[in-house]
């Protein structure tokens, strides 16, 4: 077999001497590259978080911008959360009741246990996971499309920090509205669960509506989660949007990443806050 013939005239790039040449890569190089990209991404996220806090304290908002975002994040999520949290409440009480009945014949503490679980963990975490999909995707898609159409560059040309202009109003609105929505979603889940307990297990409302197990620790942990999740979702999603590259494909990738990373952030924060909460307020 004849050896391949070299081209008579080398291409321009080859003449330049600094052209890209395919380099052999191994597992170590790939792992190293992955690590570098991971560190770079984390630095980017940290930078967005820092700038968000800085501009939240120092920046000046245009009239109505935060309210507009509060409407987008809060009011427009009400239907979605009502449906999902209602069903989740029903399913959880139904499954818990079935399991509990195998061990103890008495279901009088079903409502009290469910309420404690909701306040301490489930209301905040489940509602925030839902918000991460609806709100997170929306934020990343909106900011990402502004990046790929150079609108973010145009903002920077006018002396505007895109984090101040695009992320901070969503952050402020989210911190407030996520708390409100979690309270609302928790109530929906609790009452839907109560209806299930009454219909399936014959647990009377006056028995179900029992807050005896609830203490200051549960409320503190629940509130901490409300604030943490409300802050994390717009920061992570904003960072994903600002990292969008290319065209519509880049926006799609940023949107997917926003949902994945926001959900991941909620889970990680849940673990951290629950761990700290367990130490501070043991059950």
């Amino acid at each position: 077999m004849a050896p391949p013939v070299a081209p008579a005239t080398p291409p321009d790039d080859a003449l330049d001497g600094d052209a890209e040449r395919p380099r052999p890569r191994g597992l170590a190089a790939d792992t190293g590259q992955l690590l570098i990209e991971g560190v770079r991404a984390f630095r980017g996220l940290f930078d967005v978080a820092l700038r968000t806090v800085y501009w939240s304290l120092k920046g000046r908002r245009e009239k109505g911008v935060v309210l507009e975002q509060a409407f987008e994040i809060g009011n427009k999520s009400v239907f979605f959360l009502t449906v999902t949290q209602g069903f989740i409440g029903m399913i959880l009480v139904f499954q818990s009741g079935l399991q509990a009945r195998r061990v103890v014949p008495d279901l009088t503490m079903l409502g009290a246990t469910f309420l404690e679980l909701l306040v301490r963990d489930l209301a905040a975490t489940l509602a925030s996971m839902m918000l991460a999909t609806r709100v997170g995707a929306g934020i990343a898609a909106e900011i990402g499309s502004m990046v790929v159409t150079e609108q973010v560059d145009a903002l920077r040309m006018c002396g505007v920090d895109p984090v101040d202009w695009l992320v901070v109003p969503r952050f402020l609105a989210s911190v407030v509205m996520t708390g409100v929505l979690i309270f609302y979603a928790g109530a929906i889940a609790y009452f839907a669960g109560g209806a299930t307990a009454w219909a399936v297990f014959d647990v009377q409302p006056q028995t179900y509506l029992n807050a005896r197990l609830l203490d200051i620790g549960d409320v503190s942990i629940g509130l901490a989660k409300c604030v943490a999740y409300g802050a994390a979702i717009p920061i992570v999603s904003g960072w994903c949007g600002l990292s969008a590259r290319g065209g519509s494909e880049g926006v799609g990738i940023a949107t997917t990443q926003a949902v994945v990373f926001s959900s991941l952030a909620v889970i990680i924060l849940n673990l951290v806050i629950s761990g700290v909460g367990f130490v501070l307020f043991p059950v």
């Binding site: 321009d12 790039d13 330049d16 600094d18 052209a19 890209e20 502004m146 159409t149 150079e150 609108q151 560059d153 145009a154 903002l155 920077r156 040309m157 006018c158 002396g159 505007v160 920090d161």
Partner: protein
């Protein structure tokens, strides 16, 4: 006395992740009050070069000087101060979707501290007349044609009357008459204000009627830098082919 060299690039190299270098050691100087035409085939690095000049992108190597000040390593906050002296038209116009045309044009002025509503309205109306779109203040960008968006972009880029203005394809998508009008208007404004302008355009024929100097980028290298007359008379086959729009040649 202000420095004569307004924009200066020294050995600028830029590459994006996993790609070949977009710019390779580019040295370029734009003197004060000059209308500099930057030309070259597609993907030659022209738009990247404009973004480097205003710090929207950072070079991998080399130095960038604006009016003698090295801006290569400046942080975003200090770059804001530099950008306040520069107007820019983006290739994709970059009009803010959620703002009306009037708000788009007024935005750089408001950010520069102009708060008087009457002055803002007057300036917006003046810019809209300049691009032959009077009365478009309340329209939304989504309802405009490509050419109209481009003209609104030009109006916004010139709203500040900046000392330095960068235009990335100011006539793309415009009909020949409007295109010529825009070129003539921008030239007249540049002369009147004494601004330093860098203009990237694929409409070579019209561009060369208004430029003082021309630079040609090819595969990330500045292969020509000289007066418009020198460009038209260049013996470099690549420059000759490009500026005269010949189909036969090395490009």
């Amino acid at each position: 006395m202000p420095p004569r060299r307004v924009i200066e690039l020294r050995g600028i190299t830029k590459r994006f992740v996993d790609g070949p270098p977009v710019l390779r050691g580019v040295d370029l100087t734009v003197p004060r009050g000059c209308l500099y035409g930057l030309v070259g085939p597609g993907a030659a690095g022209k738009s990247v070069l404009l973004k480097l000049v205003v710090g929207l992108l950072r070079p991998d190597a080399g130095a960038l000087l604006i009016e003698g000040e090295d801006i290569t390593g400046l942080d975003e906050l200090r770059l804001h101060r530099v950008r306040a002296r520069i107007g820019m038209l983006f290739q994709n116009n970059a009009l803010f979707d959620h703002m009306t045309v009037g708000e788009n044009i007024a935005f750089p002025l408001r950010r520069a501290g102009v708060t008087d509503a009457a002055a803002l309205a007057e300036r917006v109306a003046d810019r809209l007349r300049m691009v032959s779109l009077p009365g478009f203040e309340d329209r939304m960008p989504a309802g405009l044609s490509g050419g109209q968006k481009k003209r609104i972009g030009v109006a916004r880029a010139t709203a500040l009357k900046a000392d330095i203005v960068l235009y990335d394809e100011p006539a793309a998508g415009l009909d020949p008459v409007t295109s010529q009008k825009i070129f003539d208007t921008l030239r007249a404004e540049q002369r009147e204000a004494g601004a330093t302008v860098v203009m990237v355009s694929s409409d070579i024929e019209r561009l060369l009627t208004i430029t003082d100097r021309v630079g040609m980028l090819h595969r990330g290298r500045l292969i020509f830098d000289g007066t418009t007359a020198e460009a038209l008379a260049s013996r470099d086959p690549r420059v000759d082919q490009f500026v005269h729009g010949k189909t036969d040649g090395p490009l």
